[in-house]
């Protein structure tokens, strides 16, 4: 550095100064990049104008005119395109959220099983992981859809399992609760239970810090919550939910909660496929914990479960979280394969919107922006969690 300074002072022209060169190269690169994208956008606008097409998002307020098979918020053919977008987004969020949850649970189970001392368990886990990691997701989805869920009997020959749970190729129907007039008071009781559970968790953590013996904090908290929930259910004058069993009525199943074959196929496909990758991440994380740690934990008399809970997992998480984030993102983005089996997710619905409105550029830009936002939000959350884990653990 000293050297440069003297040279600059001794009259070297500024364009040979390495600091100038570094900045200059970056500026040139950025200008070229902007020109490139500017050209592409200019070209697109010019082409669209030549065809008399103007860009704009006002079409979103027009009536959509088509129906969608599954929706979480009210929708019919007189709703707007914007509403249709929201339906698609919610369907994507539902399947991705549940998919991430299931994939994580399955992934941890198979990841741990993969390291089991039991030969059969270990071998089966390995088979599961290797098989799923090496076939394309699309194939798996179509297999689940046409090979499993569409092969259930037709609606007039529905399989009825005790419950009653009905299996048909129109979907799977399970009994579901209908809120009664006492439902709002029950929600209050659940809130109280949640507050008590959090309070207990905080108290137990504080106690653990003080005495050095951390009890099963979340185990106790869950137990308290369930206890309050159960007590509240029986304390109310009438049950908060009335049971609504599914039954065949004409061409459809009436009552209960119905899960369409498309939804089930997509959820199973995504969860199982991603779980194989998560299992490998979990295995790698566990194996990254030094052997000495486990031996030391054994030496001070911890049992197997305690070793896993108190020594191995907290350290493994540090390694697990970053790749886990990318698998969560993959699962969310892969949910757009729903289009292959007809589940109305964001991508599928926007395909219909694109075709009915003819606004290809706007719709695709919107879809990209939405997926980008979902992914960035997921990553922000996971990065926050990652930092927290790292902070607690050293």
């Amino acid at each position: 550095m000293q050297n440069h300074a003297t040279r600059v002072r001794s009259g070297t022209p500024f364009w040979r100064d390495v600091r100038f060169q570094r900045v200059f190269a970056q500026v040139v690169f950025i200008i070229l990049l902007l020109l490139f994208f500017g050209y592409l956008i200019q070209n697109m606008i010019a082409t669209l104008q030549r065809q008399g097409l103007a860009l704009g998002f006002s079409f979103l307020h027009q009536t959509s005119g088509f129906d969608i098979g599954e929706y979480l918020i009210p929708y019919d053919r007189s709703s707007t395109y914007l509403r249709a977008f929201q339906i698609g987004l919610l369907n994507t969020a539902l399947v991705s959220g549940l998919g991430i949850l299931l994939a994580t649970i399955l992934g941890i189970i198979f990841g741990v099983a993969r390291l089991s001392q039991n030969f059969l368990v270990q071998y089966l886990a390995r088979l599961y992981i290797e098989f799923l990691r090496n076939i394309p997701l699309l194939v798996l989805l179509i297999l689940w859809y046409t090979g499993v869920f569409l092969k259930f009997p037709r609606i007039n020959q529905a399989i009825t399992l005790p419950g009653p749970i009905m299996l048909t190729n129109r979907g799977i129907a399970v009994p579901w609760g209908i809120p009664t007039e006492t439902y709002p008071s029950y929600l209050v009781i659940l809130g109280i239970g949640l507050a008590l559970a959090l309070l207990a968790a905080a108290g137990l953590t504080w106690h653990g810090r003080r005495t050095g013996r951390t009890p099963l904090v979340w185990g106790w908290a869950t137990a308290i919550f369930l206890l309050v929930a159960a007590a509240g259910w029986f304390m109310l004058p009438s049950p908060a939910l009335s049971l609504d069993p599914p039954q065949v009525q004409g061409l459809r199943i009436a009552g209960g909660k119905q899960l369409s074959p498309e939804f089930m196929a997509l959820l199973s496909g995504l969860a199982i496929y991603t779980s194989a990758f998560i299992a490998d991440v979990v295995r790698a994380g566990i194996q990254s914990v030094a052997k000495g740690q486990v031996e030391a934990a054994k030496a001070i008399g911890l049992n197997g479960f305690q070793i896993l809970r108190l020594v191995v997992f907290p350290q493994a998480l540090r390694v697990i979280i970053p790749p886990l984030t990318s698998h969560y993102l993959n699962l969310t983005k892969n949910s757009s394969l729903a289009v292959a089996i007809g589940y109305p997710d964001l991508f599928s619905v926007s395909g219909t919107i694109l075709n009915q409105s003819g606004r290809a550029v706007e719709v695709i830009a919107l879809v990209m922006l939405i997926y980008l936002s979902i992914s960035l939000l997921t990553s922000l959350f996971m990065n926050w969690y990652n930092r927290r884990i790292r902070f607690v653990e050293r």
Partner: protein, 377 residues
């Protein structure tokens, strides 16, 4: 923090780009003077007349591009037996395909100079708008929105269709109201999807749509019993039922027509010459049937016909071809190589084919149908 900043910057830039796209100015419609060289037909004294016509920008560019390329790029369905499908020898065949061939014959005098692009319902309009294909002949329904807002021109109906509903014969369903609570399979991004929603809302029938990406998926799911009914244009129902379903005889098309579906070739806005070429190629095959000109007798007609209308159609008299920017024997080539409307229809959808559809509305106006060609004059 830095990462967050970078992310936000990206989002901001992206939204700026989108905003910038929103406020584009419309170009002023400048007139270009196009010089059209008119060649007199063979056998008459060769006088070159130059006609100057004021034309909008874009006039003639498609034909020039097609001629420079040496092939016509035609967007087709590719999955619909009878309309466009691969025949056992691996070549494209069908009603729509024959119109692609007719267009190539009109331009090049050679009906094989066509490159086919299979397009899904979703891809078809953008493919045409962006210029990936020259013309879209893919059982596409003519609607006001498509004709205006989407920047397209429909050239003239080649097939009058209507939307129908197919159900298993043993289902006991005979009217729309019998479908109460049922599920209907439908293909994504079609007018069919909209008509179904309209018809069901009109009759107060609640139903669930099961929406699929392509023909095979739609009929596959229907065959599995995922849906109580499947809806599409009647032409598609009858041809798909025979080609895709394992037991076509066990399915019936309900006696309900949900909509008018005039199927027409489509071109982009902005090139009126190309619009005219496609439009008049369609009319040429219709006129040929009306005048009794077919591929077998076209040579004889060209040599001996006295009817001036036929003589103008075949390029013996007048200069109809050059007015379109084509050679004067354009229609002769179309009829010679591809045939008239009746030949095209019977070859693909006629009584002898597995995809037989009664001609109905698709007969000449003289036989009670709706086919009517403006005069060749």
């Amino acid at each position: 923090m830095r990462k967050l900043f970078a992310t936000m910057t990206m989002l901001v830039v992206f939204s700026l780009v989108l905003a910038a796209c929103g406020g584009g100015a419309v170009p002023t419609a400048e007139k270009v003077i196009q010089t059209v060289v008119v060649t007199a037909p063979a056998g008459t004294p060769q006088v070159q007349v130059q006609v100057q016509v004021a034309q909008a920008p874009g006039f003639g560019e498609t034909l020039a591009a097609v001629q420079a390329r040496g092939t016509l790029i035609c967007g087709v369905n590719g999955q619909l037996p009878g309309f466009s499908f691969l025949d056992p020898s691996g070549a494209y065949a069908g009603f729509d395909v024959d119109f692609c061939r007719a267009l190539a014959a009109a331009i090049f005098g050679d009906d094989t100079k066509v490159e086919y692009r299979n397009l899904t319902t979703q891809e078809r309009l953008p493919a045409l708008q962006t210029g990936e294909i020259d013309v879209l002949i893919r059982n596409t329904t003519w609607t006001l929105t498509r004709d205006t807002d989407n920047g397209l021109n429909f050239t003239g109906t080649t097939f009058y269709d209507g939307q129908g509903i197919m159900v298993p014969a043993d289902s006991g369903i005979t009217t729309l109201n019998d479908l109460e609570g049922g599920t209907v399979c439908v293909q994504k991004g079609t007018t069919t999807e909209l008509n179904l929603a309209d018809a069901m809302a009109l009759n107060n029938v609640t139903y669930t749509p099961a929406v699929y990406e392509d023909v095979n998926q739609t009929y596959g799911a229907y065959a599995e019993g995922r849906c109580d009914a499947v809806t599409s244009d009647k032409s598609q129902l009858s041809s798909a039922a025979k080609a895709v379903l394992p037991d076509p005889e066990n399915h019936v098309i309900l006696d309900v027509t949900l909509s008018k579906e005039p199927l027409s070739p489509v071109v982009r806005h902005g090139d009126d010459q190309w619009f005219d070429i496609v439009k008049w190629t369609v009319y040429a095959v219709i006129a040929a049937e009306e005048y009794g000109v077919d591929s077998a007798n076209v040579d004889d007609q060209r040599a001996n016909a006295v009817n001036p209308e036929i003589r103008r159609l075949l390029g013996v008299e007048g200069d109809m071809g050059p007015k379109l920017g084509l050679s004067n024997d354009w229609a002769y080539n179309v009829i010679k190589l591809v045939g008239n409307y009746e030949e095209i229809y019977n070859r693909n959808l006629g009584p002898g084919t597995p995809t037989f559809i009664p001609r109905g509305l698709n007969s000449l106006y003289t036989d009670g149908g709706a086919l009517y060609s403006p005069p060749f004059r």
